[in-house]
């Protein structure tokens, strides 16, 4: 089939627009900062769910997911935290509704640490919603990098806890 050049340009432009529109506009990456390396040989995080909260809503004291939170389907259920320390891992790609968002909440249902002797290490799960400034317009792809941190207790250095440390929005 032979198409005249203007028609070809139009079809190409149309296809480009369609394909761009279908691309996920939000990509979420995960990084870790493990400050207790000598106590851990392996650390795996089982992701329960990930949500973002539109602007203008509050938090409950017990950090419940209330109806306005929008779920981001995770790409992986289990993350190797040591891998995520070397390089940020993409954990969700999604096209949320056009809006402004103010918080991200990654919940873990299990955090498994193993020490150099092969024994299980207990970690306190202190993951909670973290603030951010994110606007989804649909025109521009956005990337968020969430950093989790593993810290030793100050009074009890044998106690390890995992927290949401920081968030970068490109």
């Amino acid at each position: 089939m032979h198409l005249p050049t203007p028609k070809l340009i139009f079809v190409a432009g149309y296809l480009l627009t369609i394909s761009c529109g279908q691309e996920p506009t939000l990509r979420l990456k995960l990084k870790t900062d493990i400050r207790a390396k000598e106590m851990l040989r392996n650390l795996h995080i089982n992701i329960r769910d990930i949500h973002i909260q539109p602007i203008g809503f509050g938090l409950t004291i017990d950090h419940q997911i209330t109806p306005e939170w929008i779920p981001l389907p995770p790409l992986h259920n289990r993350i190797d935290a040591f891998d995520a320390q070397k390089k940020a891992i993409v954990i969700a790609q999604f096209q949320p509704p056009k809006n402004r968002y103010q918080r991200l909440f990654l919940r873990a249902n299990r955090i498994t640490g193993i020490n150099r002797f092969g024994d299980t290490v207990e970690l306190e799960n202190v993951l909670e919603p973290i603030g951010m400034e994110l606007q989804i317009t649909g025109k521009r792809r956005r990337e968020i990098t969430l950093t989790l941190i593993v810290l030793k207790g100050i009074r009890n250095p044998k106690k390890l806890s995992i927290y949401a440390k920081d968030i970068e929005v490109d």
Partner: protein
Amino acid sequence: MNRKTLLLAILNLTLSPLFINCGATESTEGCPQLEYVGSGPIPTNFTSNQQLLSIDVIYPAYEKGEKFVFIDARPPSDYKIDHIKDAISLPFYDAERCAPSLPSNAWYVTYCACPHNESQHAAEALEKAGFKNVWVLDEGYLEWKKRGYPITPPKREIHENSTLDS
């Protein structure tokens, strides 16, 4: 001054900068500047033997302008959205590193939204560094907001189906 003494002096001047920082710990770069919530007397009601102190004790001292420092121990992105008016941002994971940049004889109250996991970590880091007067806002930041106490920026309109403040 003989030649030997002169050589030793030059050697000393040359090498001494290399040893000046030998005992130094981590850098305090990026650590917050001290800012008191008030210029009045030091708090007289912070008498609990426990590290956790109730908002009902802390808020009256804040309102009267007593001289203490509010430390927001949450991540900086949370502080940026809103925080207790006149609080400084010192994230829990930086408290140990930044302690040397703050006066150990001042009075401090740390807070977070957990309601007190991050704030307690920060308080313990300051205590480890020799600070004597460090307290933790027991009920946390969300209770402070819920009560309508001063925050920066001022409280915004909330959605009807919001469970709490925004």
